[in-house]
Symmetry: C3
Subunit: 272 residues, 3 copies
């Protein structure tokens, strides 16, 4: 589904980022209830829902199983991936809270997201992002070949190409997600919404820290290309199809190719 | 292949939309003849062509088998999908006539389409569109979880993301198709041609009926982004890479970011 | 990873294009050494690296095995594809030297490419390009149904859609590669770098020779759309998101939608 462009209320945003075990418990109960309801109304899906959700004792196990199945190949077995994901969730609890925040973000900001289980099972943006978070952990552990093998599978299976070294906040929504490319030194803040075909790339002129830094609550429209170590300020909006080579101040909208600034807090643009 | 931008003759267009059982019989014979010829000239493909085309008694069975194989996963079995597609074709005969019209559209409008069987077997835009038509039937039958599971497989396998609720006419060509995103309340008319990376999305400002309405015979170039509940009139042409946020009158061309109108019946544009 | 926009030194470029058996021997030793090192440091990858690289006696065998596994389906078996690729490499030695040149191009021009084996195993642009070279050989041998079946698998698996008839030089880097579409009569020179979402398409106005001709050393930024039988001169640069409908002289930069020329040898543009 597409995005609601209205900013999420600050309270919600904070609760999403600071979610705790109680939140996760509630969310996992909710997901199981949805899966039970769907399995009853659609027997053709019962076996699928049992294997992906209902047979598991936690969100982490369900997600590990589902990602393992989606990303496995004849040479990279689902069992290896399942263990890899489970170990990652056990090692770094922030992976779980990020998954919970991302599920909430999809449910709150995407009007086409009809349930949490719908997002967990079907949103390639959500699944690619959780796999990237695990690849990022491997990258930080200096397990780069494994991080890159996982990255490659995500790029093949979901057509979402986020470098394992990129840092991504919580409550992030990759909506539709096909064609998203995020470079090695990019940073994405909390509660950011990114549509499909968005590139956070380099200009090629410099090495090192060469990719965009995206502030909290930013919205990036479909097909926008942001290049270079530029800063997109908190709450900024980047119009669909824009090519952005400059900093964008907070709460400001940038549109066009090349992008120009068209609005801010005092001068709301059409795109807000 | 890319599009012939010349409009299909009205007679052809109508025959495509109003095709009947006779048409389908002729087309299916043609497809089998092509497959027999190819199997003879290329023994390496014989087994593939037998299992996908020559072993089947109808276009519907061939298509159901092929889609089931392409879209299945370890948790969503090909047999389940095969039965699902076969039942859909039996329930709604308009699915067959739409498939026939879409095959004709590819053969007539795409110079790189060398045979009907080539389109049936290889065109991800054609296959994604037929799967969406079945998902749309499930959606109208209030079988939403199954419709969305099918939608998700199509988005993963073909990188084509058309919401099950979107309404699509007949004789539609999704050319190349990678990266196409079509929202929940979008409507696409008959004999429309849509290139790859095209978005029919929402602006995010409103809920409800929030996606574009594409008239009959419209051509939408590669990478065009059309946002909001705007109306693209019959026979209009949208240039590659355009970002369209406004209505486009019939027989008119829109280009640029943001798109401006550059031609019409009396003032043909360069893009026609 | 993204591109270093600095032109590769001429000497390197020539050595890449004119690489010989010695080069390939060195590169294959290097790839095996990398795989051995990675298998030791990451036991979880040992079996994967053994089956894809270490068990093979040559780059051609490794590549054929890996492509066969990536591109196979339940109806197009990996063994058939493996034999097909091996035979192609045996028939046309330029396929091997092109693969070597492409591996060097990725390692030299993409700062995110940390090793040759990383490119061989994980770069969908590299793998799609090698598969296209084989499909192109089949096309020239008048084995069109098989060439198109292979093309279709590459489009499904990698979301990279390069027509089998397109002619591609050596030392070519398809970086990220998702969404790339290259038409039937397109020609791509040596040492060209092409980012993701790039289209080399037709305008639809004419049949026959209707796609772009890309000179040696050209760089095409993310999301650029080049349409028609236009000539992009040697060393030209096409900015991200540009829509190019005109010839671009050598060493010149084109940006925007529609693209305008903004620099050349005497007037370097910001994008160089």
């Amino acid at each position: 589904g597409e995005l609601r462009y209205t900013s999420p209320p600050k309270a919600t945003a904070n609760s999403a980022v600071n979610c705790n075990f109680e939140d996760e418990g509630w969310l996992w109960s909710q997901i199981k209830a949805e899966a039970r309801r769907d399995a009853e109304s659609e027997p053709a899906l019962a076996s699928y829902l049992y294997s992906t959700i209902l047979s598991h004792s936690s969100l982490e196990r369900s997600l590990s199983f589902h990602l393992g199945n989606k990303l496995c190949s004849s040479t990279l077995l689902s069992t290896l991936l399942y263990d890899l994901f489970l170990n990652a969730f056990a090692t770094d609890p922030s992976l779980s809270s990020a998954a919970v925040a991302d599920l909430r973000a999809a449910r709150e900001r995407d009007p086409a997201c009809i349930s949490y289980s719908h997002c967990l099972l079907n949103y390639k943006g959500f699944l690619a992002c959780q796999a990237q978070r695990v690849a990022h952990l491997l990258w930080r552990q200096a397990r780069r070949p494994l991080a890159l093998a996982l990255h490659s599978r995500v790029a093949d299976v979901f057509a979402v190409d986020i470098h394992p070294a990129a840092r991504i906040g919580k409550g992030v929504l990759f909506d539709h997600a096909t064609g998203v490319v995020v470079g090695e030194t990019a940073v994405i803040g909390n509660n950011v919404s990114i549509l499909h075909h968005v590139t956070l790339g380099g200009t090629g002129k410099v090495g090192g820290d060469r990719h965009p830094k995206i502030g909290d609550g930013v919205l990036i429209g479909a097909g926008a290309t942001i290049l270079g170590n530029v800063k997109i300020g908190e709450g900024a909006k980047i119009g669909a199809g824009s090519v952005v080579l400059i900093d964008v101040p907070p709460q400001t909208t940038a549109v066009g190719n090349p992008a120009r600034l068209v609005g801010g807090k005092e001068k709301p643009s059409k795109h807000e």
